[in-house]
Amino acid sequence: MGTTAEARPVRPGRRLASGARRRSYLLITAALVVAFFLVWDWLTSSGVLHRIVVPPPGRVFERSREIISEPYFRRHLWVTVKEVVFGYTIGAGSGIALALVSARFKSFRHLLEPYIVALQSLPKVILLPLIAVWVGYGQTSAMIIVVMVSFFPVYLNTITGLLAADENGLKLLHSLGASPRQAFRMYRIPSALPLVFTGLKTSVNFSVVAAITAELLGSRYGLGFMLANSGTFLRIEDLYATVVVVSLFAGAVYLIFELVDRKLIFWREDRNRFRAEERQR
């Protein structure tokens, strides 16, 4: 028993080679970034670009650091974070909840589907002026738009994941005497998780964009307001620095979600594809 020597799916030689290749790509990427900043710096210091339109990168980073340490920035950051956290929790939460109910009860899905189809393609931002009429421009309107943009990717990915669960797994559970409810809990939900997280990641990016857009269009608080404000008063260095800071914020949010995803959904297919192909050979 167990005497058959089956090839383990591990090939150290190949893995080393791929590691070396990955490192060289990383090096090229880093070199291109450095080159970009060098060119930018040269363009501004040589006078090709006017310092007022494009400040040198050194100034932008210095100003960014200053902005981050200012209480003024913290106040606005907090407003945006609040809008995103509340709006996203409501939007993504109801997306998951409705998808669960839809997947479990066909009649509910058929009732809901026409509305989803009609509304999903609508660019939610065009509703901003309308929402502003109802509640005014401010944190509430930003939050409402965040709810709307975060709902759809989560709902659609979750329902797709739940319905796409492999037939074989359901057949196995059926043969083991599992009830539909058990199959849903033990199989459909975990198999949907990779797509649920794809939806959650898409939505969080959309949410940050939506909140800042809403703030840009007339709010007096938030990172979007900071951007609009620096533009209006032609504080060009501030404008660039705010762009950097806001990008960092959006990047940090994305990174957090990506890390949680990697930790939680360790069996994700698209990430393991490379490994699976390795094993095939």
Binding site: M1, G2, T3, T4, E6, A7, R8, P9, D166, N168, G169, K171, L172, L173, H174, S175, L176, G177, A178, Q182, M186, Y187, P190, L193, F266, W267, N272, R275, A276, R279
Partner: protein
């Protein structure tokens, strides 16, 4: 003496002595196609499975082998006939009848051990109660060191071993095996077949194995059921009177060759 009396007093004692564990009579399944036309998948299937018997089920694609297995497993409902397991009609999946498929169907978020424990999770029993037995079964199928590995870290053969351990944990009386090693390479499949024989021999369990491989069917079984398509029927039953334990060199012997040839003839594959 006392023990014997107690057994005799149990109401199912007569059943327990019944050498036939499963009886199919006039078994049939008709589907309705998309255009509303009836499609007969299997028809007039009659057989009896004796307790502890190893049956191989062969036939060309579309002859209703899998349908027959799914009917016995209670995954689909028959349209005609009767199917009696230990004196009661089969109306759905039951613990005493376990299934294994061509795909290992492991859940990627569960370790090998957790996959083996799946039947107990379905029953709502505590995992800790069955963990030792599950680990022992993994050892039995040659995966002692892989209990905490995830399916993606296992080769196809190893994954199918986990599936076998999962089936053994369920401890059914009848094993319905739908080409369980059909997707594996020749060497691995042969090794798995021998291990299956080892595990089965002396266990008293009944096995119904679907296979495409005629040699494999003769080598493993006590009887070969031959099905033919259009509509699916059980057309022939051949007794395999080779001694046990079966060993690979037997494949060279005339008796084995004759049986393989006979199955081929019945299948019309000559």
């Amino acid at each position: 003496m006392r023990a014997g009396l107690e057994v005799a007093e149990r109401p199912d004692a007569a059943m327990a002595r019944d050498p036939v564990i499963l009886r199919a009579h006039d078994l049939g399944k008709t589907y309705t196609s998309r255009s509303g036309e009836p499609v007969v998948a299997v028809q007039d299937v009659d057989f009896e499975l004796a307790r502890g018997e190893f049956i191989a089920l062969v036939g060309p694609s579309g002859c209703g082998k899998s349908t027959t297995l799914n009917l016995i497993g209670g995954l689909i409902t028959r349209t005609t006939g009767s199917l009696v397991f230990e004196g009661s009609q089969v109306t759905g999946p039951r613990r005493e009848i376990g299934m294994m498929f061509q795909a290992p169907v492991l859940f990627p978020w569960r370790t090998a051990l957790q996959n083996v424990l799946l039947p107990m999770d379905v029953r709502g029993e505590k995992r800790s109660k069955h963990r030792d037995r599950a680990a022992g079964l993994l050892e039995l199928v040659g995966l002692a060191g892989s209990a905490d590995r995830y399916p993606r870290e296992l080769s196809g053969g190893m994954q199918q071993r986990v599936a076998l351990a999962r089936l053994l944990l369920e401890d059914p009386e009848v094993f319905l095996l739908d080409e369980p090693f059909g997707a594996l390479d020749e060497f691995t499949r042969e090794a798995m077949n021998l291990e299956l024989l080892d595990i089965w021999s002396g266990s008293g369990k009944t096995v119904l194995l679907v296979t495409h491989n005629i040699q494999e069917a003769v080598f493993l079984s006590d009887r070969v059921f031959v099905m033919s398509p259009g509509p699916g029927r059980l057309t022939e039953v051949l007794d395999v009177d080779l001694p046990r334990p079966r060993r690979i060199p037997m494949m060279r012997e005339q008796g084995f060759q004759d049986l393989v040839f006979e199955v081929r003839r019945v299948l019309g594959a000559l």
